[in-house]
């Protein structure tokens, strides 16, 4: 579809251009209306921005799992949202145990680190089981088949965990040390938001260091470049793939704990679906297969989701904008895949891969 004779303008291109134009106009009108109406104070905007960044860093951590696996296997691990759920849901019991025993109040830092480690361990185990049972046997199958398996695995995991822990919501305990309010640049921000954001950034930097600076990371990059050549260089492909799934799982598990600390709504067995899709959106937004892209995409998506309803939809005069919040991520996903499937940073995704 790329090279057509210049005389024939494809209807498809015309349609897509028109669609692109209309989308841009609609967004601009929304922005214009909101800013001229000056409906919110700068303090309110700041609240939204910080909440968006914290939420976005959680998306970024999950998105890294999609991107890592995609970089190596060129497949979308559709069940990755469930890996995140597994860690978050299992750790709630540990967290509540810590809270009951007073350990969480005494030394919150150690307790939270332990929780993160526990959650990461559970998520890693689930990710590895997934790889071993559902994906490894299908490595050379036609592309549709592992995708369908992943959908199946997603449901199997959701309802397995419902079978384990029941279907009710369970909340993480509130951590006293994270309850206060910080003053950042003159804006009042709940402590938990910058803490989640900074911890996530630390984890992301650690991952970046691992992939770019260690020998194992080098092997990963080599495999993602070319599997056959990497094998010839003596790299154990299976081991690299297992490491990749483990890393993605561990990050998702950590994200699960952050989510528990950050959002009081509680966790339950279906909690992985929306964050999974949104993190995938984030990965695509930054350019799938690209590690800094996933981090950036996650933060950006968090911001869009947090600001979007107020900044664009309200400007267009749509009522009940918060109901449409989940729709925003999907709209971003659809738009980015239509107009720039390689994402913001991605160059690598050619049409053969898409």
């Amino acid at each position: 579809m790329q090279k057509r004779t210049p005389l024939r303008i494809s209807w498809l291109d015309l349609f897509l251009r028109a669609f692109q134009f209309v989308t841009a106009v609609v967004i601009l009108i929304g922005l214009y209306n909101t800013f001229t109406a000056a409906r919110y104070t700068s303090n309110q905007w700041a609240t939204l921005v910080f909440a968006g960044l914290a939420q976005g860093s959680i998306y970024a951590l999950i998105a890294l799992g999609y991107t890592l696996v995609y970089g190596i296997l060129l497949m979308i691990n559709f069940a990755h949202g469930e890996v995140y759920m597994a860690g978050a849901l299992s750790t709630v019991f540990l967290a509540n145990y810590f809270a009951r025993s007073g350990f969480l109040a005494e030394s919150p830092f150690i307790a939270i680190v332990l929780m993160i480690l526990f959650s990461a361990a559970i998520s890693t185990v689930v990710a590895l089981l997934l790889e071993r049972i559902a994906y490894r046997p299908l490595r050379n199958a036609p592309r549709l088949i592992p995708l369908i398996t992943a959908i199946g695995a997603s449901f199997a995991l959701q309802y397995t965990f419902r079978g384990f822990y029941g279907s009710e919501f369970r909340s993480y305990p509130t951590v006293e040390a994270l309850r206060g309010i910080w003053n950042i640049f003159g804006f009042e921000v709940p402590i938990v938001q910058p803490v989640v954001f900074l911890s996530a950034v630390v984890l992301m930097l650690a991952l970046y260091w691992y992939v770019e600076r260690t020998k194992a990371g080098k092997a990963m990059r080599a495999v993602s470049e070319n599997k056959d050549v990497a094998r010839l260089m003596g790299i154990d492909i299976d081991k690299v793939i297992v490491t990749t799934f483990a890393l993605g799982g561990a990050l998702a598990g950590a994200a699960g704990v952050f989510n528990g600390l950050f959002r009081p709504q509680g966790v339950f067995f279906l909690m992985g679906f929306f964050p999974g899709i949104k993190a995938f959106t984030a990965a695509v937004l930054g350019g799938i297969g690209n590690i800094p892209g996933a981090m950036f995409g996650g933060l950006l998506l968090g911001l869009i989701e947090s600001l979007g309803p107020n900044i664009i939809l309200e400007g267009l005069g749509i009522p009940g904008t918060n109901q449409l919040k989940d729709g925003i991520a999907f709209t971003v996903l659809v738009l980015i895949l239509i107009f720039r499937p390689q994402g913001i940073f991605g160059e690598r995704l050619s049409e053969t891969k898409a």
Binding site: M1, S10, W11, L12, F15, L16, F19, M75, I76, F78, F93, I133, A134, P137, L138, A141, P142, R143, L144, I145, P146, L147, I148, T149, I151, G152, A153, S154, F155, A156, L157, Q158, Y159, T160, R162, G163, F164, Y165, G166, I277, F280, I318, P319, G320, Q323, L324, D326, G327, F330, T331, L333, V334, L337, I338, P341, E351, A354
Partner: protein
């Protein structure tokens, strides 16, 4: 001493053990335990619990005929005993700490099932003993002579099915004969043990005789040579018979089972539409429910007697139906347009996004004046044809039957048409197809549009049946359901869609204990199918060739494709 392969015994035993433990901890054993199969001797929970254990006995002896029967039986027993270990540890652990606080389904009820209602050590020993016996059973089955094994396997399966689907059998029996006859065979919904034994023996004898006859005929080399005419005649007979069964089904089955048939029919309709998009054209569409929702909402809004109707009284079901299908086709094209350039996984996720966006919009206050928001569309009248109102499941069944037959007919004709071949060419390789002169834009859009039309038709019938529709009826699960059933049946295969709908939609309706674990089973089924039989139960010819190409004769398959 190579007689016993201890490694294999432990491995298979532990695998069976993990399966047994898994089903226990997620609560399936307990949930199914409330359902007695043969009086109080066996319930569905036992079957689930010991299924994995029997399997380990079976697996450990597979392919080891040379080792001798005694060795095999002992290995199987050992494997069974090993398989009992994890459930045993679960019971022991639960006596020390209250596991229930975390694992909600590890409750006293499960414990009493696992230990056969004995709280002391005897219960534990019994669990281990029964596990070993289960393993022995699996091994025993495996070392039998092939002919006997087949007969026993078949008759056990049939007897179990008769017990598991007791509801169905009872319903049919009491509609055909009388309520009293069913009491001869069943108490409540469990089969009388004596009846089970007699049934099993009779079936075993029957299957054995049939097998012997078939073997004899095979050795004599007299293959029945039917003429083409005779084959055609049997085909026609089968066809007519099938048609009669379809027509009289609701009156034999009664109201509840007609409702089940209606559900199956609805998903056959959806599956046939999705089959065109996924099976023929190879476009994995996870937002298929969107078109179903469009159909239901269009039908609802146009015919409702409530305040949402823009033109009250103008449309009835039949006049609205063409509009509904056109709306479906229109949105098929509209949503198809942006995704024309995507392939595989990306297409799947974007269409999933579309489906969710539609649901979120239907639920929102923004579109509430048109689509009713969270309240949904109420008071949709039932269709009326020649003064007969389609107000009962039995009558709605005919509507959905007609819709499905129409869809099946169109699917078959399309498959064998030029367009169908274009779809399949596109599915195999888009670039090559385009090089061959296929207009990809048109071909893809037609696939989306026709699939959406079927789905909208299904939605319209659904709305007319339910009377009230709500946004939450149109969630991702419908797409997943439809996708699972066409995959389990066989992508691109029309009989596959029907079988898939019966297995995935019909069976769970009949097994009430199953409802809670339905999606779990779907998930596991999808994985197992993809790992072992990606072409489905009733594969389409072309897929069989494609997927099995590498295994048997790669060269000719490649030439054909």
């Amino acid at each position: 001493m190579q007689k016993f392969q201890f490694k294999s015994i432990v491995r298979h035993g532990l695998l069976g053990s993990v399966i047994a433990l898994y089903f226990s901890v997620i609560g399936m054993v307990e949930a199914f335990g409330s359902r007695d199969l043969f009086g109080e001797y066996l319930n569905l929970g036992h079957l689930l619990l010991f299924g994995g254990i029997i399997w380990s006995g079976f697996a450990v002896t597979t392919g080891r005929r040379k080792a001798g029967w005694l060795t095999n039986l002992v290995s199987a027993t050992l494997a069974g005993a090993v398989a009992g270990v994890l459930p045993l540890l679960l019971v022991l652990a639960n006596r020390q700490i209250e596991l229930r606080e975390v694992f909600v389904n590890v409750n006293p009820n499960l414990m009493s099932i696992l230990t056969f209602e004995r709280a002391d050590t005897a219960g534990l020993l019994l669990l281990l003993g029964v596990s070993a016996a289960g393993g022995l059973l699996g091994g025993l089955y495996n070392i039998l002579h092939a002919r006997i094994r087949k007969a026993i396997g078949m008759s056990v399966t049939v007897t179990l099915l008769m017990a598991i689907f007791a509801d169905l059998v009872i319903q049919v029996l009491s509609n055909v004969a009388s309520r009293e006859t069913t009491k001869l065979f069943y108490v409540g919904d469990s089969m009388k043990p004596a009846v089970a034994v007699v049934l099993f023996a009779a079936l075993a004898a029957l299957f054995y005789a049939r097998q012997t006859l078939a073997d004899k005929r095979a050795t004599e080399g007299t293959v029945s040579t039917e003429t083409k005419k005779a084959q055609l005649r049997t085909r026609i007979f089968q066809f007519v018979g099938f048609g009669i069964v379809l027509l009289i089904a609701p009156w034999v089955l009664g109201s509840f089972l007609s409702q089940v048939l209606f559900e199956i029919g609805r998903f056959v309709l959806l599956g046939l539409g999705l089959n065109i998009v996924v099976g023929y054209a190879g476009l994995l569409d996870l937002g298929y429910v969107a078109f179903f929702a469009f159909g239901a909402y269009t039908m609802g809004v146009l015919t409702t007697t409530g305040p949402l109707n823009p033109a009250p009284g103008l449309f009835n079901f039949w006049t609205a139906l063409p509009i509904v299908v056109l709306v479906g086709v229109f949105f098929g094209v509209i949503l198809g347009f942006p995704v024309l350039r995507m392939r595989g996984d990306y297409l799947a996720i974007v269409t999933l996004g579309f489906g969710e966006i539609i649901r979120i919009l239907a639920l929102s206050d923004w579109l509430a004046p048109i689509m009713g928001g969270a309240q949904g569309v109420l008071k949709i009248p039932n269709p009326v044809l020649f003064g007969v109102e389609f107000n009962s499941p039995e009558r709605m069944y005919y509507l959905v039957l007609f819709g499905s037959l129409l869809a099946a007919f169109i699917s078959i004709r399309l498959r064998d048409s030029r367009l169908g071949r274009q779809w399949m060419a596109m599915r195999e390789d888009e670039d090559v197809a385009e090089a061959m002169g296929i207009n990809l834009v048109q071909t893809k859009l037609l696939a989306f549009a026709i699939g959406a039309g079927f789905s909208a038709l299904g939605g319209a019938i659904f709305a007319a049946r339910l009377v009230n529709i709500f946004p939450h009826s149109f969630n991702l699960l419908i797409s997943i359901n439809a996708l699972s059933l066409i995959i389990v049946g066989g992508l691109g295969s029309i009989p596959g869609v029907i079988v898939g709908a019966f297995v995935l939609v019909g069976l769970p309706e009949l097994l009430r204990e199953f409802t809670e674990y339905r999606l779990l089973m779907y998930g596991i089924l999808l994985i197992v199918m993809m790992l072992n039989r990606p072409e489905g139960f009733i594969p389409a010819e072309i897929f069989k060739r494609e997927l099995r190409a590498g295994e048997e004769n790669p060269a000719p398959a490649k030439a054909e494709a």
